[in-house]
Symmetry: C2
Subunit: 349 residues, 2 copies
């Protein structure tokens, strides 16, 4: 778990004080910030000192292992090391900050660490400041990266942030559809976890609360207000805590295939997948469709005119997510989710 | 926040593996264990090695600063230091483990550190393993101690455990009334926090979930089952997380007076106090009374034949808890809760 959490409107103003004791001489703080945030007024107040550096990240595509390696190489070449890595943005930027912090101290390529517990050296200090709610990346024990062969997280005890700052003020200005897609990442992983066979009382209590907050914000309330931002920020946090100790299911397993082959982003990818999963999650999908209507969100179709090779690659990536399928369908999952059935599912997405 | 959490039935079997990397040559692991657990079968499986030591703690009285200092002196004298402190028990043992771990590395008396952020040197490694649910001490940022002049916690960034192990199997054998009193500590602090003026979305979401789980276990379900233990363990955890970022109220403020003057334990003390607080917490107290009836719990009267000096001391201790009163009654609390009104409240308890 993330050992230090600051929550509240205006909390980002404490960043300078928080990172001051972590500064080491000549070693900069590196700020990875989503390029979409370039015009935000609070950017000017960031505690930039000495050779600190801001790197604006184009998150059009989700983070790749080769990008992580390149940033690491550049930082090590220029400064030897860094005092710390601060990530400000959505799930992609959170994952970049976590991965770069680990790679500054760990030799080789980030590809070598995709998987479970392959990191054995603590990274440099890293702090996360989410500017959109839903992924749970701010609390997750993983940093999801797309490598040459697969999209898979660096999942280790050293991956979680040392500090997160949750400031609902930072959520202002997120486009409505983006806010919806990202929030649905949380809603969908709650549905998957709560219906999964790996569930325990820890994840259940967190997942129930996260799902309840999502439903409050997107189904029960008539319009968006300041409280909605606060509630959704907590939904993301609780959802991430839930997933830390359980597993996702069919929607995440299939959306990983979409992401790998088509580059579909995680949030919208899950919406595209989940929209066709009523046979697996009847109640959750029914609520999801109500939310779509209420917030007037149109889910695009992305599996259009795909080649056989593309379908084959999607199916291969998806079926390699064994834990997700087992959580969703039980130990007999290979007999239930055949490549043919998965192909038919993809054709509808 | 506690950075490492293991949850699940049988999780205590992982303790040896978890503490192995924390062991330093010649420095023992010191296990503080509630004496009430002496006959538990899992005691024999604890990973005791070399000069490790088990200290059984008589929790008839809540922990005192002079006891903490004495244990610290003994450990430092005998071994120089300790590899770590493991606490297994209820809130008292959790607080002892946290306080001794801090005092091994910090000079002076534990009295010097009662308050907020007075600890500046990290303690030795400390892990907590709760054997009863409700106090939230397993996740709390404080170690509550009774000193010569006041009952007050060592509240600091270094106080939280480095690791907790939540194993519902350990809850077996807790007497029904003790289980109830301790659980009500959680229920009551949720009611106080959720109705308090210091509430924020972080504490609200945690507190709501904790209170919901308490009500499920003590009001909705017809009988006790394995799931009840699991749910109550999570209620305690979420309740502790909620309080980490908010504040308690009238019940805790008054029960601290009972504890200081009469030695009334925290759980039952809160029950004694809360039972007479319908004017402040009408809905919460109504639910509490239903639980009392359903579980056939009789709340004792403790303020019997007290001297004027005793009442004066209780009132002084209670009214010194300024943050609690402000949270409950607002900034004008001194005009609302006069010593006379508080005296009348105590006379009913």
């Amino acid at each position: 778990m993330v050992p230090r959490v600051v929550y509240g409107r205006g909390a980002i103003d404490q960043l300078g004080e928080i990172i001051a004791p972590k500064r080491k001489e000549h070693a900069p703080m590196i700020f990875f910030i989503d390029h979409a945030l370039k015009q935000r007024p609070w950017l000017k107040k960031l505690p930039i000192e000495g050779n600190d550096r801001i790197i604006f990240v184009d998150t059009t595509n989700e983070p790749k292992t080769k990008e992580i390696d390149a940033w690491r190489n550049e930082i090590v070449q220029l400064y030897g090391t860094a005092s710390g890595i601060i990530g400000i943005g959505g799930g992609s930027v959170m994952d970049i900050a976590k991965a770069v912090a680990l790679m500054i101290t760990n030799p080789g390529s980030s590809v070598d660490y995709q998987g479970w517990d392959l990191v054995h050296i603590p990274g440099v200090y890293h702090a996360g400041i989410p500017s959109i709610s839903g992924t749970g990346a701010e609390v997750a024990r993983t940093a999801v990266l797309t490598g040459p062969e697969r999209k898979l997280g660096i999942n280790s005890d050293f991956t979680p942030f040392d500090q997160i700052i949750m400031d609902p003020n930072l959520l202002e200005g997120v486009p409505v559809d983006q806010r919806f897609y990202t929030a649905m990442d949380c809603f969908i992983h709650c549905v998957e976890a709560l219906q999964g066979s790996f569930l325990n009382a820890f994840s259940k209590s967190y997942g129930e609360k996260a799902q309840e907050l999502c439903e409050k914000v997107f189904l029960e309330k008539e319009s968006w207000d300041d409280e909605s931002d606060e509630e959704l920020m907590m939904a993301s946090f609780h959802g991430g805590m839930s997933i830390a100790y359980s597993q996702v299911g069919v929607s995440h397993a299939t959306s990983y295939g979409l992401a790998f082959v088509l580059g579909t982003h995680h949030g919208i990818g899950n919406c595209i997948a989940f929209n066709h999963l009523e046979e697996f999650y009847p109640e959750g999908v029914a609520k999801f469709k109500k939310m779509l209507t209420k917030w007037n969100i149109k889910i695009p179709k992305v599996c259009v005119n795909l080649s056989e090779a593309q379908y084959a690659a999607m199916i291969k990536v998806s079926l390699s997510m064994e834990k997700l399928w087992e959580n969703a369908l039980g130990s007999d999952w290979r007999n239930i989710m055949t490549p043919e059935r998965l192909r038919a599912l993809y054709e509808r997405m």
